[in-house]
């Protein structure tokens, strides 16, 4: 997989050098053989250095990389026996949210995931990964079903936000999200949410009110997509990079703020370089958290989940200013 992001230029050059030398095969001169070994050693080292110090905006670019694994890739790699459920039983079926029961090793779970599209056609089919109200209503229906059958809920978050079209307003985007937020807070089964790419605004949070919230190392989580935030704060989406930095969107920053419980490591150079590896890491993290949560009674789960979100927020006490 090529290094194609702007800040990966030195890596791309190294990779090109390696490819050129390798092409020579047997005709390599001794000093070229030495150069090849050097370059092959340098590449992972440089990658590690660059990825250790990614800026907020660079992380946004990795989180949005077109080859980054999407929800269906993880489902394929982590689960067996997935059966997709469709429709909100009211107005339609949303393709930006994929849901259904599956087997995770020996445990039946309910998956609820946001799904982006890779090529033009699939992007259109998935509405660029921006869920419609019927997506949240499908998710809510499926969550209540999971509760009925005692299945733990695993959700994967990957959207820059909820769909902002006029039809979405007509069908009640605000109500759909408000409703699922409140329903999720009272589900009597364990819920684990993971941000696997972009976690943007209420659109992502819509399936993210969970007992444990995990975040992949190079994913982002923010109150609004950086472009949207920039246009709200500075009336120009071109300032997105500043917004990304100010809002602290990187996984380790979000972890330090106490909003997520665990950062799941990604392979060297990002999840898109090794699907198997990142899926294995995620699966392990989900298994571990699920084992913990299964020790708790439903009442304990509910109270802890309530307190988890109840205690988020920073404020002080001071006298009202005099005008």
């Amino acid at each position: 997989m090529a290094y194609d992001l702007e800040f990966e230029k030195p890596l791309a050059e190294l990779e090109k050098k390696i490819a050129n030398l390798q092409r020579k095969g047997e005709r390599l001169k001794p000093e070229e053989r030495f150069q090849l070994q050097e370059a092959e050693r340098e590449l992972p080292q440089r990658t590690r250095e660059i990825y250790k110090n990614l800026s907020s905006w660079q992380t946004v670019l990795v989180a949005r990389h077109r080859d980054r694994p999407y929800s269906l890739d993880y489902i394929k790699l982590m689960c067996e026996d997935f059966f997709e459920l469709h429709g909100d039983r009211s107005s339609g079926d949303d393709h930006a949210i994929v849901a259904g029961p599956a087997k995770l090793d020996n445990q039946i779970i309910m998956l609820i995931c946001q799904q982006k599209g890779r090529d033009m056609k699939e992007k259109q089919f998935r509405n660029l990964g921006l869920p419609h109200p019927e997506g949240y209503r499908k998710a809510e229906r499926v969550m209540q079903q999971a509760e009925k059958f005692g299945m733990p809920i695993i959700s994967l978050l990957d959207t820059s936000g909820a769909s902002p079209a006029l039809v979405d307003e007509e069908r009640g985007q605000a109500e759909a999200i408000a409703s699922i937020l409140s329903v999720m807070s009272r589900l009597r089964v364990p819920v684990i949410a993971t941000i696997i790419g972009e976690g943007g605004s209420g659109g992502a949070l819509g399936i993210g009110v969970a007992d444990r919230v995990l975040m992949l190392e190079y994913s982002i989580y923010s109150v609004a997509a950086p472009e949207a935030a920039a246009s709200i704060i500075w009336r120009d989406s071109a300032y997105a990079q500043y917004a990304a930095e100010g809002m602290r969107v990187k996984a380790h920053e979000v972890y330090k703020l106490g909003i997520v419980d665990e950062v799941v490591p990604e392979p060297l150079g990002g999840a898109h370089r090794n699907y198997q590896q990142v899926a294995a890491n995620l699966k392990e993290a989900i298994q571990k958290n699920l084992t913990d949560l299964k020790q708790l009674s439903a009442d304990e789960l509910l109270e802890r989940r309530y307190q988890k979100f109840r205690t988020i927020g920073k404020y002080t006490r001071s006298e009202a200013p005099v005008t």
Binding site: A178, S222, I232, W234, G246, F309, G313
Partner: protein, 292 residues
């Protein structure tokens, strides 16, 4: 029994008094921001700041709103001292942007301007002698945006309703989540919605009144979760603002799209109520939904 609402000028505020922010055309008259009609300030205030020509409902401050809705002198404020901080040390600014104030500085300025610590005032009061707890948002404080303080005060209001077993009213007016508080702001959506889920389990009624504008993270959490949802006429009510919808769809949408009447027509709210009828409507609802 329908009571005539008392005009604002004849009421006093029980809390700290703040100056209403008037559209500036001098003291004697104001200009309607919608139809450009010149209105005498005295008539306009008697009309509860509604344009007598085009029925445009001007935005009210939280304290004006409270005195409009509840019994005279019945309001007792709580948590008046909860104030915002800058939890992310949000200091990055595009160098070319004219306003270089940091979030911390902006907060200070807004507090001085409005006399509020943040964009919501909450407490307990009565309407026609029936008790309720209420939280009223104020658009004049950073566009009514929801950060930690707004979320916390709304949540406390709901919890107070659960504790005392009395109905809850939230009056919304907000541009959405406060970007400068990042995920802390986003999580207030989850926090308030979770508190309201508990309120529902306690079988205590929750009334939500939407005023201009109610958008973004506020509309997608507590504002849309009312057992009964009311809206003032002509208020902008949406998840995504019209400007963003237009950018996304590359079309022009009609001026009156995504307002109170639009959401009523699409089944998202229960009624559009004129400002002068709000108090009597709330009283009626309190009677009908009073916990047995």
């Amino acid at each position: 029994m329908v009571k005539e609402a008392v005009p604002l000028t004849e009421q006093t505020f029980s809390g700290k008094e703040t100056k209403p922010v008037l559209p500036a055309v001098g003291n004697i008259a104001v200009k309607c921001t919608k139809c450009k009609e010149i209105l005498y300030t005295r008539d306009w205030e008697k009309d509860l700041k509604v344009c007598s020509r085009c029925n445009h409902h001007f935005r009210l401050t939280a304290r004006e709103r409270i005195s409009l809705l509840v019994d005279l002198d019945s309001f007792v404020e709580v948590d008046a001292d909860l104030a915002s901080i800058d939890p992310l040390h949000f200091a990055t600014q595009p160098p070319s942007y004219p306003d270089q104030r940091t979030y911390a500085k902006k907060l200070e300025d807004e507090q001085r301007k409005t006399g509020l610590t943040d964009a919501v005032v909450s407490g307990q009061a009565t309407i026609e002698a029936m008790p309720l707890v209420l939280a009223v948002m104020d658009f004049h404080f950073m566009g009514g945006s929801m950060g930690s303080v707004v979320g916390e005060k709304i949540t406390r209001t709901v919890e107070l309703g659960i504790d005392r077993r009395i109905p809850v009213l939230v009056v919304s007016t907000s541009g959405g989540a406060r970007m400068q508080e990042g995920l802390f702001a986003l999580m207030q959506m989850a926090k308030t919605s979770a508190a309201l889920a508990k309120l529902r389990e306690a079988h205590i009624p929750y009334f939500s009144l939407l005023t201009d504008p109610t958008t973004g993270g506020v509309s997608a959490s507590f504002a849309m979760l009312g057992d009964v949802i009311l809206a003032e006429p002509g208020a902008l009510i949406c998840f995504t603002g019209p400007r963003v919808i237009e950018q996304f769809m590359h079309i022009k949408i009609p001026e009156n799209a995504v307002n109170s009447e639009f959401v009523l027509q699409h089944g998202m709210i229960d009624a559009v109520v004129h400002r002068r009828d709000l108090r009597s409507t709330l009283a009626q609802l309190l009677r009908l939904y009073s916990p047995a």
